[in-house]
C-alpha cells in the first residue's frame, strides 16, 4: 500500500486528524483504488491507525496507548519488527498475505459505490462506532475469513440500528475466490453422479458415494456378470423383457442374437392376457425372420388379422400352436393358410389347436392338405395321449401335422384321447387300450387322471370334473394341509 506520508507528517496530528474528519462529509466514499490510500480514505479508523503507527514510530507518547480502536491491525503493524521512522511505513509490504487485497478492496469499494452507503450521521461519534465495527470486519480480512463473516457484520450493523444501512446487497465475490465456478463444478459433479446415488439407495447418498469410491477398483461393480447371458434361455418372456430394461449391456445381449428369438413361447405366460396383435408382431420381429416355433397358448388377444400379419412376415415358421386363442376362427385360420400357400409363404407344418377351433370334416381335410399331410393315412407310430398331460402340448411326438384326429366313435375331427385306466389306482376292470379311444364328447374323462368315466361306478358328481378316486385324493390332501 502506498502511503503518503507527507500529508501525514505535514502538520500536527490533531490538525490533520481534524481536517480529515472535517472533510469527512465531502469525501467520496469508496475509492480504495490505485490511488493514495490515505488520500481517499473514508474510514477515519484507518486515520487513527496510521496516526498511531506514526506516533509510535516517532517514539512520542509511547506510554500513552491509543484507545482500543481496531487493535488487531495495529498489532500487526507494530509486530513488524523494528519500527523506525517512516521507512517502516514505506517498506510495509504491498500484500503480505497474498490475499489479493487490492482487488478485494476494490470489490468492496465498488460495492459501497453501488449502494451509496451513507455512513454519515449527525453526531460524530457514531461514524466512529460504525467505522469501528466495519473496521473489525475489514480486520477479519487479514485473517482470511469469508463473506459470511462480512454478512454477519453487516447484519449486526443492521441490528445496531445504524441509519442508512438500509438494504444492502452483498458483493458477488469480494475475495476473488471464484466461488461461483467452484460451486458450479461441485453441482455439476453431483448431478452427473446423481443417478448413481439415487438408484442405489434413496436414503444415504453420502454413504453411496463412499461405496462407489471404495469399489471403483472392482471392474465389474455395477455391471452384470458375464454369466447372465447364459441364463436367458431359462427365462420366461416377461422376465426377458424386464431384463432388457436393466442396463445397456443386457439390452444389447438380449437383442443381438436373433436365434434366441426363434422360439417364442407364450404358453400360459403371465403376459398372455396382455399380448395384442401389435405386441406380438413386435416380438416376432425380433427374430428377424428366423422365427420357427410360436406357442400362443392362452393368448386371448390375438385375432385372425394379427395372426395373418405374423405368419406373413415369418415365412420360416414351422410350428404353431394356437390353443386357447378364443378369438380365432376356423374359417379365418383356413383362409390364412390358404392365402399363404398360394403366395408360397407358408412354412407352417405343424398346427396345434388344442381344441380352440372346431373343424368340420371338409375343413379338416383341407387343413391336412394345406399342411401337406394325408388326412386318411393312419400314422405309423402314435403316442398315447392322455387328457391330463397334453392339453397344452407344443410338440407332437409322432409325425402328425395337427393334433386333431378323426374320432373313431363319432367320426368327427377332434382331439382324441386314450384311456389312462392303467395308471388310475382303483380301477377294477381296466378297459382295453385300443377300444377306449375317442374324443371327449364320446367318452367323458377325469381331468386329473384321464381315465374314462363311462360305465363305471366312479362317475363324478354333477359338475365335478374328477373321477371319485381323484376327488377323494384331493380332499385328503386338503385335509392334511388344514
Amino acid at each position: 500500500m502506498e502511503i503518503n506520508c507527507d500529508e501525514l507528517l505535514g502538520g500536527s496530528y490533531s490538525d490533520w486528524g481534524m481536517k480529515k474528519a472535517g472533510d469527512y462529509k465531502e469525501v467520496e466514499l469508496g475509492g480504495f483504488g490505485e490511488d493514495d490510500f490515505l488520500n481517499r480514505m473514508s474510514f477515519s479508523g484507518y486515520q487513527i491507525i496510521y496516526e498511531t503507527v506514526n506516533w509510535v514510530a516517532s517514539g512520542d507518547g509511547a506510554s500513552i496507548w491509543p484507545q482500543q480502536k481496531g487493535n488487531t491491525l495495529f498489532n500487526d503493524f507494530v509486530g513488524f519488527g523494528e519500527i523506525s521512522g517512516n521507512s517502516v511505513l514505506n517498506s510495509l509490504p504491498e500484500d503480505p498475505f497474498c490475499m489479493n487485497i487490492r482487488s478485494t478492496l476494490n470489490t468492496i469499494s465498488d460495492w459501497f459505490h453501488e449502494n451509496q452507503m451513507d455512513l454519515v450521521s449527525e453526531s460524530r461519534d457514531e461514524p466512529i462506532g460504525v467505522d469501528q465495527t466495519l473496521f473489525k470486519s475489514l480486520d477479519c480480512f487479514s485473517n482470511g475469513t469469508t463473506t459470511t463473516m462480512l454478512q454477519e457484520q453487516i447484519s449486526s450493523l443492521k441490528m445496531n440500528g445504524v441509519e442508512g444501512l438500509g438494504k444492502v446487497t452483498l458483493p458477488e465475490d469480494p475475495f476473488c475466490m471464484k466461488v461461483r465456478s467452484t460451486l458450479n463444478t461441485i453441482s455439476d459433479w453431483f448431478h452427473e453422479n446423481q443417478r448413481g446415488f439415487v438408484s442405489k439407495s434413496h436414503d444415504e447418498p453420502i454413504g453411496v458415494v463412499e461405496q462407489q469410491m471404495g469399489s471403483s477398483d472392482l471392474d465389474d461393480a455395477g455391471e452384470p456378470h458375464v454369466a447372465f447371458e447364459l441364463v436367458f434361455p431359462y427365462l420366461e418372456m416377461r422376465d426377458v423383457l424386464a431384463v432388457e430394461g436393466v442396463c445397456r449391456s443386457l439390452r444389447d445381449s438380449v437383442r443381438k442374437e436373433p436365434f434366441f428369438w426363434s422360439t417364442i413361447d407364450l404358453n400360459d405366460s403371465p403376459l398372455k392376457y396382455r399380448v395384442t396383435n401389435d405386441s406380438l408382431l413386435k416380438l416376432t420381429h425380433r427374430a428377424q425372420g428366423h422365427l420357427q416355433c410360436l406357442n400362443l397358448g392362452g393368448c386371448v388377444g390375438i385375432t385372425d388379422n394379427g395372426l395373418m400379419q405374423v405368419l406373413a412376415s415369418n415365412p420360416r415358421l414351422t410350428k404353431l400352436s394356437v390353443s386357447g386363442c378364443h378369438r380365432l376362427s376356423t374359417a379365418g385360420m383356413l383362409s390364412i393358410l390358404r392365402d399363404l400357400k398360394s403366395s408360397n409363404l407358408l412354412g407352417v407344418k405343424y398346427l396345434i389347436t388344442g381344441g380352440a377351433l372346431y373343424f368340420t370334416k371338409e375343413q379338416f381335410e383341407e387343413l391336412n392338405s394345406l399342411l401337406g399331410a394325408d388326412a386318411n393315412a393312419v400314422p405309423k407310430s402314435r403316442k398315447q395321449r392322455f387328457y391330463t398331460s397334453c392339453r397344452s402340448e407344443l410338440s407332437l411326438e409322432d409325425d402328425r401335422v395337427t393334433d386333431l384326429e378323426i374320432c373313431p366313435w363319432c367320426e368327427k375331427p377332434s382331439l382324441v384321447f386314450d384311456c389312462a385306466a392303467k395308471t388310475c389306482p382303483l380301477k377294477d376292470n381296466p378297459c382295453s387300450k385300443s377300444s377306449c379311444r375317442a374324443c371327449v364328447v364320446c367318452i367323458e374323462r377325469c381331468h386329473d387322471c384321464g381315465s374314462c368315466l363311462n360305465d363305471c361306478e366312479y362317475k363324478p358328481f354333477c359338475f365335478a370334473f374328477s373321477c371319485v378316486v381323484c376327488y377323494k385324493k384331493t380332499c385328503n390332501q386338503l385335509q392334511e394341509l388344514l
Partner: protein, 191 residues
C-alpha cells in the same frame, strides 16, 4: 476295456493261455492277480489342473459327468498323467463343482438329490455365476440347469427392472432418451 493298456491285456491273454495249457496253481494265481488289477484300473484317477495352478485328483466316474473332460479323455489319453489344464476354472470353483459331481455320482434317491441341490445353490450371487460359467465350460448339463434355473427364479421373483438392478447390483446406464424408448417398446408388458 480301454482302461487297460496293451501290455496288460496281453498279459491277461497270456495268463489265460498259460492257465489253459499249464494248468497249475501259479498260473491261476497270476490270472486272478491280473483280474484284480483290471478291477482297480476301472476306477481310474483323473487329474485336473486349475487356472491358478492347483491340481485335483478325482475318480473318472465323477470327472466324466463333464462332457468336456469326457471328450478330452477320449481324444488324448496320454495327457492324463500330467493332468487336464482347465484354463477358465479357478480352484475354489472347481472344488464346488467336484462336490456337485460327487453327490450326483453317488447312489441317492431323486428326492434326496433335489433336497441336496436346493441346499447346494444357497450361496451368494457371484459364486452362482462362477458356477454357471464353469458348468458351461465343462459342459455339465445338470449343474448348468440347476444354477441357471436358480438365477432365473431370482429374476422371475423381481417385479420389474428396478428390482432386478437392486438384486444383482447393476447400474442403470441408460440415457433418459433410451429409457423412454424402452418404455414405449415394452409398455404392453408392464403391469
Amino acid at each position: 476295456f480301454h482302461f487297460l493298456s496293451r501290455s496288460q491285456s496281453n498279459s491277461l491273454t497270456t495268463t489265460r493261455v498259460l492257465y489253459k495249457e499249464i494248468h497249475n496253481s501259479t498260473a491261476h494265481y497270476f490270472f486272478r492277480r491280473i483280474s484284480s488289477l483290471k478291477l482297480t484300473k476301472m476306477s481310474k484317477k483323473i487329474v485336473l489342473k486349475t487356472s491358478d495352478g492347483e491340481s485335483f485328483e478325482i475318480d473318472d466316474s465323477i470327472a466324466l459327468q463333464s462332457e468336456t473332460i469326457a471328450h478330452l479323455i477320449g481324444d488324448d489319453s496320454a495327457s492324463t498323467s500330467n493332468g487336464f489344464p482347465l484354463a477358465n476354472v479357478t480352484s475354489n470353483v472347481l472344488s464346488t463343482v467336484i462336490e456337485y459331481c460327487k453327490k450326483h455320482a453317488s447312489v441317492a434317491s431323486e428326492e434326496e438329490l433335489k433336497k441336496w441341490d436346493a441346499e447346494f445353490v444357497k450361496v451368494d450371487d457371484s459364486t452362482i455365476f462362477d458356477l454357471i460359467l464353469a458348468a458351461n465350460y465343462l459342459n455339465i448339463s445338470g449343474l448348468l440347469d440347476l444354477t441357471c434355473q436358480t438365477v432365473a427364479d431370482k429374476i422371475a421373483a423381481c417385479k420389474d427392472a428396478d428390482e432386478i438392478r437392486a438384486t444383482f447390483d447393476i447400474e442403470n446406464d441408460f440415457t433418459p432418451e433410451e429409457e423412454e424408448e424402452l418404455r414405449r417398446e415394452n409398455q404392453w408388458s408392464f403391469q
